[in-house]
């Protein structure tokens, strides 16, 4: 199968980038909420300002209407036409709040407040204290509320809010970069340490493994053979760790060499390689392998298979089983080990995270697996049940063709 590469493997800065993004997201959300609150306060203050600006206008209207009512009172009953004005609507009520005459769309809501909003209108009240012309004690003026200010205010809030958010986001980015510098330094220090250490491990490990292979097992006794097997297991464990650490620290400088890889053959080889290690915990392999090929870097797919098998051994119970199923479209590695809580499944791919602190290792294996999976746009699924085992499935879906 042919798989396409989507992005380069980048492990060193992933946690830093993740922290940066999380912090920025939180920071921007909080700033946006604050700006939203300020925007709402500004909107409210503008609304009240516009409302209070209406007061003097409405007072003028009320005086005009008062004069007209006074004139009508003198002419009544010869003139029975209530005075009208195109700029406003009005109404008069007697001392007990009974309507005498009204041109208003809405009935008054308050007889004790001089000005108030009612639906989309404003009511202004002028009490007539000295003389009840036409029997009126209360003169109401009604106008439609002016909403022309609304669009301008909303536009201002959006423009200035966005600009402020942008500026604060840029500041936030720089601040976060400064805050994360100690973390970045720690990671760099750790990476440098691992890089130097692994470099020094290579020669002795290779020498040990080569010499174990060359030793004449027939010439040694049963006890010595067992001891040699233990040395072999220990050396292979260190070798596996060395491979991961080398991949982690040096893979950036290495260009991928994609080729057709026979997965069935690869898995059989790696199972054989880990057989002694599995044997030390009385773990048996059950293989169900069909032919499948993948167009991928051989070193990288070997790291994936090695880490899946290595983890299945590491976290398996004694006398457990590892089931490996290979099909044209997927690979499944299932163990009968300790498993993990379902809510921790997403965390297992994080670098330096381990299933169980009692087991050895740096917690980098599955992180490497995920980075390679992502690089080749493969798909990984994990299912785990506590004390029953873990199943990891890799689907060769995107960009695959028959080999």
């Amino acid at each position: 199968m042919l798989v396409s590469k989507s992005k380069g493997t980048s492990l060193h800065r992933s946690s830093e980038r993740s922290s940066l993004l999380r912090f920025l997201a939180l920071y921007i959300t909080l700033v946006a909420l604050l700006l939203l609150l300020l925007g709402m306060l500004h909107y409210k203050s503008q609304k009240e300002l516009t409302f209070s600006n209406q007061r003097s206008i409405l007072a003028t209207y009320a005086n005009e209407q008062y004069k007209a009512i006074k004139e009508l009172h003198e002419e009544y009953p010869q003139n029975l036409t209530y005075p009208r004005n195109t700029k406003f609507r009005s109404a008069i009520y007697d001392l007990s709040g009974v309507k005498i005459f009204s041109l208003m769309k809405l009935n008054p809501k308050h007889f004790g407040r001089d000005m108030y909003r009612i639906n989309d209108s404003i009511h202004f009240l002028k009490p007539l204290d000295e003389n009840y012309y036409l029997g009126a004690k209360y003169l109401f003026i009604e106008v439609d509320e002016d909403f022309t200010w609304k669009d301008d205010v909303i536009k201002d809030i959006i423009i200035y809010g966005t600009l402020t958010l942008l500026v604060l986001a840029i500041f936030g980015f720089f601040f976060v970069s400064i805050f994360l510098r100690p973390m970045r330094n720690s990671i760099t220090l750790l990476d440098d340490f691992i890089k130097d250490t692994t470099h020094e491990l290579n020669t002795p490990i290779s020498a040990i493994l080569a010499n174990i292979e060359m030793m004449d097992k027939d010439a040694m006794g049963e006890k010595n053979e067992k001891k040699l097997a233990r040395i072999n297991i220990a050396a292979k464990t260190v070798s596996h760790l060395y491979q991961d650490l080398t991949y982690l620290t040096l893979s950036h400088n290495r260009k991928s060499k994609d080729e057709w890889v026979d997965l069935k053959q690869l898995i059989q080889d790696r199972v054989e390689y880990f057989a002694i290690l599995a044997g030390s915990k009385k773990i048996t392999f059950t293989l169900d392998l069909k032919d499948s090929a993948l167009f991928i870097d051989a070193v990288k797919i070997a790291r994936v298979v090695d880490n899946l098998i290595s983890n299945a051994i590491k976290y398996n119970k004694r006398h457990g089983t590892i089931f490996i199923t290979l099909r044209k479209q997927h690979l499944i590695v299932r163990d009968t080990g300790i498993g993990i809580e379902s809510n921790e499944v997403n965390e297992i791919f994080e670098r330096y995270t381990r299933f169980n602190s009692s087991e050895g290792g740096f917690g980098i294996g599955l992180n490497i697996v995920r980075s390679i999976i992502n690089e080749y746009s493969l798909q990984i699924e994990v299912e785990s049940v506590l004390n029953q085992g873990t199943t990891i499935r890799i689907n060769f879906l995107k960009g695959t063709i028959d080999a």
């Binding site: 036409t81 209530y82 009974v98 005498i100 036409l134």
Partner: protein, 111 residues
């Protein structure tokens, strides 16, 4: 059916009678006075916004008119003096005032 007819006749008679009290006892006098009924109505209305207050104060004045109770100007009283007490009984006064209110109140007449 017979009962309804009697009630209708009684109602017509009562309304006619009250209108008659106002027409027969108020209009004739005020017709020739400078204090016309229209002017007096607006004067009372300007002072008493509410219907009940309007009617009560007018009734009280008509029963026992005094200079203090009068709403008309002092010069008018100096010239024409305060009117005499009405000889109408309470019911007749109420009827006449109701007619007077119905005839001029702005609530029913403004347009």
């Amino acid at each position: 059916m017979h009962k309804k007819t009697v009630l209708l006749i009684l109602l017509t008679f009562t309304l006619g009678a009250s209108a008659n009290v106002y027409q027969s006892r108020c209009v004739p006098c005020h017709k020739y006075q400078p204090a016309t009924l229209e002017k007096m109505f607006m004067l009372y209305l300007k002072t008493h916004s509410v219907e009940l207050s309007f009617k009560l104060s007018l009734k009280e004045f008509l029963k026992k008119p005094t200079e203090e109770k009068s709403l008309i100007g002092n010069k008018f009283i100096e010239r024409f003096s305060v009117k005499g007490a009405s000889d109408l009984n309470d019911t007749q006064l109420d009827e006449a005032i109701d007619t007077y209110w119905d005839l001029y109140n702005p609530k029913d007449n403004l347009k």
